[in-house]
Symmetry: C2
Amino acid sequence: MIVVPGPSSTKLGGKVAEILGVRKVDVEYKNFPDGESYLRLSEAVSGEEVALIHTTYPHPDKRILELLLLINTLKDLGARHITAVVPYMAYARQDSRFREGEAISINTIFRLIEGAGADEFITVDVHKEFSLKVFGIEAKNIRAAEAIAEYLRGMDLVRPYILSPDRGALKIAQSIGERLGAEYGNFEKTRDRISGAITVKGERVEARGRDVVIADDLISTGGTIASASKIVKGEGARRVIAVCTHPLLVGDALPKMRGAGVDEVIGTDTIESEVSRISVAQLIAKELSKS
Amino acid sequence: MIVVPGPSSTKLGGKVAEILGVRKVDVEYKNFPDGESYLRLSEAVSGEEVALIHTTYPHPDKRILELLLLINTLKDLGARHITAVVPYMAYARQDSRFREGEAISINTIFRLIEGAGADEFITVDVHKEFSLKVFGIEAKNIRAAEAIAEYLRGMDLVRPYILSPDRGALKIAQSIGERLGAEYGNFEKTRDRISGAITVKGERVEARGRDVVIADDLISTGGTIASASKIVKGEGARRVIAVCTHPLLVGDALPKMRGAGVDEVIGTDTIESEVSRISVAQLIAKELSKS
């Protein structure tokens, strides 16, 4: 096996290659003045089993097109087996038709990945696992909870409570909570389908004097985390720690969360960001060595 | 037939629908804060023969992904026949492998368009027609020379000379020249494969006192046109008019060309720009009514 780190995952891809002890083939990359990407495999890949590691954030559309170009180029250059490893899969929240006529974008993108020539697909904490069913090839979802729990164990949390800001992420809170032997639960989030406005409310959390870990699959604008943080800080939480797999951190997400009482924001390196203190490299390497 | 103007070709798409006298179905479009596109067909398309008109500039990667999402959504919603009309096809210059390992990006993109569900493909002045051969579906290239020549005829040019700045665009200069009954010819352009630096030189053009029309398929940074303009102005041209099908006009292209003596820049509406004074709507409508 060889590892090809795409231009959006050079660090993470390098780590995975190192853990697996396999050859790394870099991608030469540049952007033309008109916005087109230039991509070139720096070494021969003919006959190789290739793990291409390329995340799709920031600039999801550009990153997705690069992913498709790289898969198809690897195929064209004679790679024997291509595993597309997409640590953060953009568009995964567009997984259903809420209004007549809407694009179910993640279905199209998965079809395109397969059509471009991927033989296998691996992602991390995809928004909803059912969306992977559109694939005809083998498609796996790695859960980052293990790596996140391990990191939190090193933090000396005081009577931690793991809180999911909505029902959808309860599985994440639960799987972190069980690993830490901590209580867990969830708020309820409602999103206005037209305006996009978010409301968070829920059962009272006995937060007084405790460290509350708000866990979600991703942090985008930080609005959901900020709302949940205000509630638990209002109930007397000692510290609020926001933890996620995918730190998108759009615009002023960090100051917004801090302003709402969040003491610390922690993410993984599925997206390279200033809060990426947890690496999913081991988990990806483990999955790849199973294949 | 119905016409669906994609978000990047609302004006041109509207014109085509009007000329054909057919129903126009709009696309509801927005951009999420994290950069993802939201797309929704505003009316039912089931059982319809659809002409989707969506250009791929500016922001080629975003526009290409939208194109693929729209094609696949139309298919998913039950459209009977989908013609993808892409007035400007980005990435068409990446049509060969100049160095080992390079992506031949246009091949991948054409495969993706077909794979997404297009039954037919129409573009305008694609960089090289041979690149269309990768399609398994019917693929047509419309030449804009007719519309461009008609516009130039209305300009009262003085002893016009139609000049292509390189060999590749000679066909364009020739086809405009023949329509106008004007002399035509070409310079030679060399591009350093590594640095990208461009050199233009060529046969002496008897330019003194004449209007020189520099014609190319596209104007990107304007560097090629500027070099050619300096030469013919140096030889005493009366006016220099730069004309192209696709006005990309990256960054300071317009002031750069004007500074090199270009008196006027004219493009078509394959890309909506401030110089789009010629419409290809009639040519597209004509081609669609043949299908």
